[in-house]
């Protein structure tokens, strides 16, 4: 296995008396997407701020591409891309000017900003000022800005928050492409479906601590239950029956229902990440 792109060990940060991050440890390999799943205030953004140099860790170590983040090394900064939750674009600049400016800060002389805009479907609006863009278009701009330097490490903070399903799907597709290119992606979200779809591994964060860290499948196997939902016609009504696959007599009951002339549908069901999160922490992801 290659050296992790992100290595975090026992990271701590407190805002005054409020301990926001309490000994978080994890790593992210090149080409891997790690979903950081947790409710607001869980410590996700504080962790990203420490990793991107906005905050200095009060305890513990954090390394990006093998280098200590507290050293404030421009070479490391040149290798990271950040998509903030806040849409902090230059509204008086055009889309192209925004990307060209940030490309220049990364020292890229011949950035193909138009191609980056094409990837997020904004090439035809390249010369329009960002102030005229919709919320979804601004979010796509945020993503394109994070990609402009072809980063080896990507920090994406709620990249699809509040977007319509079509735009969200388009953004998820580009995130997957970046990971396939070899970028290590730390994806912060409280959207369980997004985390499930994109993440190779998921870290559950609650009250500043990692309460579980594994692949979504392993977490579901470990903490969830597999079940079957069967819908049957019952005169004018529809009757539902749900039972656990691994329960005693489940196979026989399933065979019986499958043979019924009133059978309408059979669905297998597995626990969602949110259900597992609630099971582990006693609270939901939206809290």
């Amino acid at each position: 296995m290659s050296e992790p792109a992100i290595q975090v060990q026992d990271l701590h940060y407190a805002y005054g008396d409020l301990q926001a991050v309490k000994g978080i440890s994890f790593d992210v390999q090149p080409g891997e997407i790690l979903g950081f799943l947790g409710p607001n205030g869980a410590g996700k953004s504080t962790t990203i701020k420490m990793l991107t140099g906005q905050l200095t860790p009060q305890k513990g170590t954090a390394r990006i591409l093998g280098k200590d983040v507290t050293k404030d090394d421009p070479e490391v900064q040149a290798q990271i891309g950040v998509c903030f939750e806040e849409k902090n674009l230059y509204l008086n600049m055009t889309a192209l000017e925004n990307l060209d400016f940030f490309a220049s800060l990364f020292g890229i002389k011949d950035a193909d900003s138009l191609e980056v805009l094409r990837r997020v479907g904004l090439a035809d609006r390249a010369k329009d000022r960002v102030s005229s863009f919709s919320k979804g278009m601004r979010q796509r701009m945020m993503i394109s800005r994070a990609f402009i330097n072809k980063p080896r490490v990507l920090f994406l903070d709620e990249p699809t928050d509040g977007l319509d399903p079509v735009t969200s799907a388009a953004i998820r597709k580009t995130i997957k492409e970046e990971a396939e290119r070899g970028a290590a992606v730390l994806l912060t979200t409280h959207d369980m479906f997004e985390a499930d779809e994109l993440s190779d591994r998921v870290a559950f964060i609650n009250e500043g601590e990692v309460v579980a860290l594994d692949t979504p499948e392993s977490l579901k196997l470990k903490y969830g239950t597999r079940s079957v939902k069967v819908r049957l016609r019952n005169g004018e009504d529809v009757r539902e029956e749900r039972f656990e696959i691994d329960a005693e007599g489940a196979s026989a009951r399933l065979a019986e229902l499958a043979a019924s002339p009133n059978l309408m549908t059979i669905h297998t069901e597995e626990a969602t990440l949110e259900q597992i999160f609630i099971q582990l922490t006693g609270r939901g992801l939206e809290g």
Binding site: Q54, E75, N88
Partner: protein, 354 residues
């Protein structure tokens, strides 16, 4: 700190400048103030007397009047053209000097001098041109005036108010362009989160702050020099004037960066400028009221940049006479730089905590 990254940030700010109302205001204000104050106290729109001359010889009168400030002289070849221009009020007066006029005057021949007056001309201009012409004829004749005129000045014999207002105009050019533009620009970057977006790239806080400072220095220097030129006090020692203006802009822009780093948002920034306004403006008032005790002006920080500009630009002194003031101004600028660096760490923590 990197020169290349500073330049990229500065270039972006300069390119975005014309899209910012505050930037445009900084450019317009000195021109607007000059216009308003010149109309109120100066001579911007006072019409100069316009004299046309047809000189068939090389008269001393033509030579003398052409050299005079405050008289607009037009030399013509044709007498009919001169009459037409006076009749049409394109000239206030016309003078025809025949060949040998000066010699005839000196010989006491009392030659005829044709002097046309435009009927629509200002009475003041007619009087000025008539008296000036008669004085010059008397000079040719070599005679003394029949009376001794005793001139008594009422009021102070100091500089006209239009000149004493120059520090006020330069103050506004320096403060709006040097202090307010970089300060509000920095606050805007904080409010919109674009500063944080820059700081997660290889750009460092120092790169951004120095770029904002340079923006203020550049804009304030240009606007202050333009203000001095507009008010006619950018003399032959223009190079020295530019040097003292640059020192002034450096201090002003350093104040702007400190204010910008300190202020969390635009309302606090406006509050700082409004609250500190009289403190900053005070030294400029002492030039308008020279009878006030001038030592008080030295208590205010911007005195140390206004005074060198006043001495070198308005009074025509050499830069060597204000080295003490310039040294103090540079010292204050350096201290503000240290303060900005200290406040920047607090600013970064505040932004990240939001």
């Amino acid at each position: 700190m990197s020169l290349s990254r500073m330049w990229k940030v500065l270039r972006k700010d300069l390119a975005l400048g014309p899209r910012s109302p505050i930037f445009l205001w900084a450019i317009i204000l000195p021109f607007a103030l000059t216009l308003i104050l010149q109309v109120a106290f100066g001579s911007l729109f006072d019409p100069q007397p316009r004299l046309g001359i047809v000189d068939d010889g090389d008269s001393y009168i033509t030579e003398s009047v052409t050299d005079m400030d405050g008289v607009d002289v037009t030399l013509l070849e044709d007498e009919a053209e001169l009459k037409r221009l006076v009749e049409e009020n394109d000239l206030d007066a016309g003078l025809i000097l025949p060949a040998g006029f000066d010699d005839a005057v000196r010989d006491g021949e009392r030659p005829e001098l044709q002097f046309f007056i435009g009927g629509e001309s200002y009475a003041s201009n007619r009087i000025i041109l008539t008296v000036t012409t008669l004085d010059l004829v008397r000079e040719i004749e070599g005679s003394e005036a029949p009376v001794v005129v005793d001139i008594v000045n009422f009021g102070d014999a100091g500089l006209p108010i239009s000149i004493r207002l120059v520090p006020v105009i330069v103050f506004y050019a320096l403060v709006i362009a040097g202090l307010f533009v970089p300060g509000s620009n920095l606050v805007e970057e904080k409010e919109h989160g674009t500063l944080m977006a820059m700081l997660v790239t290889p750009v460092k806080t120092a790169d951004v702050l120095v770029a904002k400072w340079l923006l203020g220095v550049l804009l304030a220097s240009v606007m202050a020099v333009a203000s001095l030129a507009l008010n006619g006090v950018l003399g032959s020692n223009w190079f020295e004037v530019i040097l003292v203006v640059i020192v002034a802009a450096m201090l002003s822009a350093a104040l702007g960066v400190v204010a910008g780093v300190f202020a969390k948002d635009s309302s606090i920034m406006f509050g700082i400028v409004k609250g500190a306004g009289i403190f900053l403006f005070a030294p400029a008032i002492f030039y308008v009221f020279p009878e006030w005790p001038q030592w008080i002006a030295k208590l205010f920080p911007l005195y140390w940049i206004i005074e060198p500009i006043w001495q070198v630009s308005v009074m025509g002194e050499s830069i060597g006479t204000v080295t003490g003031e310039l040294a103090i101004a540079l010292g204050i600028t350096a201290a503000l730089g240290v303060l900005a660096a200290w406040l920047a760490r607090r600013m970064q923590a505040q932004m990240a905590a939001q």
